[in-house]
């Protein structure tokens, strides 16, 4: 038992899961932070990215590592479209805003169910997978397929890039300002419309890319998005709403807890573990594990 736990294989699995959660949860938290809308359909974007990658490979022979560009731009365009077509107009009317905020969970949940069932109609419920970079690579004692290694490396690199963007780029700083203090962001002259659109573009784009990366290691199916949404949700709550660094830390923590928890017990306990953690964190530290209450004097 102890040997299993100390094995590099398990550590790699935890890292891989954490990187995926980080990528998905970052986007979920950004959209939440800038818009105060919790997109429960976020995981379905991962599913759509997965299918897009599968079809690009199966029908057009586009390798998944190239399809990343496709799904990234597709997701980004979808984000820009959703913002422009739906949210900007709705949020411009204060009364509509109050209505949406109250009902956003239900509305997104409905949207999610619709998207999932449309996907099931279009692609059938049969899981789809493909063979890509399936040769085994050895790093020390860890043996992984090339596809899995590439997926994890790309996920980590993307998380780092998003973090760097949010820290260093003016637009990233504007987005963080909006998350932090909407009113103060307006005071200093942040272009709120632009920053909000950027959070949709980034959030949707990273989710779709996560779908590509996930399809390189697992089969895709119409209902794969929901558990991902839940996991991302747990990460966001753990890391703190609107908190970027907290989200990253929480994603890797959840990845580790889930991987090691399942290894210690059995896969049957996965949901109990994830939801148990969710409820515990909500009860014990509603401001997030790393979050602190804002001190304003």
């Amino acid at each position: 038992m102890l040997e299993t736990l100390a094995a590099g294989q398990l550590l790699f699995a935890a890292l891989a899961l954490g990187a995926l959660y980080a990528l998905v949860a970052l986007g979920l938290n950004l959209v939440y932070g800038t818009m105060r809308l919790l997109n429960v359909a976020h995981g379905d974007l991962v599913m759509l990215g997965g299918y897009a990658t599968y079809w690009a490979f199966a029908a057009a022979g586009i390798p998944p590592l190239a399809a990343v560009l496709l799904t990234a731009s597709g997701g980004a365009a979808l984000g820009a479209g959703a913002y422009r077509g739906l949210f900007r107009r709705l949020l411009a009317a204060p009364r509509a805003t109050a209505r949406i905020e109250a009902n956003s969970l239900l509305a997104f949940f409905g949207l999610s169910v619709i998207v999932q069932n449309l996907a099931a109609l279009a692609f059938t419920a049969t899981p789809r997978g493909y063979e890509y970079l399936s040769g085994v690579v050895r790093i020390g004692e860890v043996a992984v397929t090339g596809g899995r290694l590439a997926a994890v490396a790309l996920a980590l690199a993307l998380c780092a890039a998003v973090l760097a963007f949010l820290r260093r780029h003016v637009l990233g700083l504007a987005m963080r300002a909006l998350v932090e203090q909407r009113e103060a962001a307006a005071v200093v002259g942040v272009d709120i419309d632009r920053a909000q659109r950027a959070s949709f573009v980034l959030g949707f784009g990273t989710a779709a890319v996560a779908g590509t990366l996930l399809s390189m290691t697992e089969q895709v199916s119409p209902f794969m998005g929901f558990p991902i949404t839940i996991a991302a949700f747990v990460v966001v709550i753990m890391g703190g709403l609107g908190r970027i660094e907290g989200t990253l830390a929480a994603a890797f923590l959840l990845g580790a807890i889930e991987t090691y928890g399942v290894a210690l017990t059995s896969p049957t306990y996965r949901s109990i573990l994830v939801y148990g953690l969710f409820v515990t964190v909500l009860l014990v530290r509603p401001q997030g594990l790393l979050g602190r209450r804002a001190i304003v004097r």
């Binding site: 203090q181 002259g189 709120i192």
Partner: protein
């Protein structure tokens, strides 16, 4: 006049607070805005900054009408609000707060040099550059809010109750800074509780009551005005 406000109406939706305010502010001058709590000073400041919509009247700035411009566009024209209650970004560092002060396109070039000027102006901020703004004392947060406003290279600074709740030493620092802004040729519109001090510092002043200007004049004249004396100094 750099800022000309004519018959400005506004408030919060159906709750009208400003009922036709007319005033002006000039470059290189401090214009004080006096009035009891709830008179409408903050509402006026926020309407000038574009955070609240105007319901009527006009705001002209540097010769152009800005009444309908969004807040970001007004910052870009050269209007900076230092809001009541400071509104710093509590989880971001002092340095990031200053960086955000320079987010308007007009202010992006040379923001590092300007941040250094701010650190020279308020050495406390340099010491705390890496700390989250939320960990600063009230006085330090006020310094930060003023510095953040100046980072946008404004021509007009709207200072809303900058000395509220500050220790006397900090109040002196704030008034020294206001003096410096005037010397640099900025227009300063100052809402202030400390009426004596505000009138000493001001070139011109307006007294607001229930969303209307009820008295206006040079600072010294207003200090002698019977209505102002009654309202603020408790003498006849």
């Amino acid at each position: 006049m750099l800022l000309e406000v004519e018959d400005l109406a506004g408030g919060y939706g159906a709750a009208r607070v400003l009922h036709g305010v007319t005033l002006a502010a000039a470059r290189g001058a401090v214009t004080a805005l006096l009035g009891a709590n709830g008179a409408g000073k903050t509402t006026l400041m926020r309407t000038l900054a574009g955070l609240l919509p105007a319901a009527g009247g006009a705001i002209r700035f540097a010769g152009a009408e800005v009444t309908a411009l969004p807040a970001a566009a007004r910052v870009e024209r050269g209007i900076a609000l230092v809001p009541e209650g400071r509104l710093v970004f509590p989880a971001l560092s002092v340095a990031e707060n200053l960086r955000l002060g320079a987010i308007a396109p007009r202010a992006r070039a040379g923001w590092r040099t300007r941040a250094d000027e701010m650190y020279a102006l308020f050495p406390r901020l340099r010491e705390r550059a890496r700390q989250p703004a939320g960990a600063l004392s009230g006085g330090e947060q006020q310094m930060l809010a003023i510095a953040r406003g100046l980072m946008s290279r404004p021509d007009l600074v709207l200072l809303d109750e900058p000395t509220l709740g500050l220790a006397p030493a900090m109040v002196r620092v704030v008034f020294d800074t206001i003096e410096r802004m005037r010397a640099l040729g900025l227009a300063v519109l100052l809402a202030e509780q400390d009426v004596r001090r505000a009138l000493q510092a001001a070139d011109a002043a307006y007294v607001i009551e229930h969303g209307r200007v009820i008295a206006a004049g040079r600072g010294a004249d207003l200090a002698a005005d019977a209505r102002v004396r009654r309202a603020y100094f408790g003498v006849d």
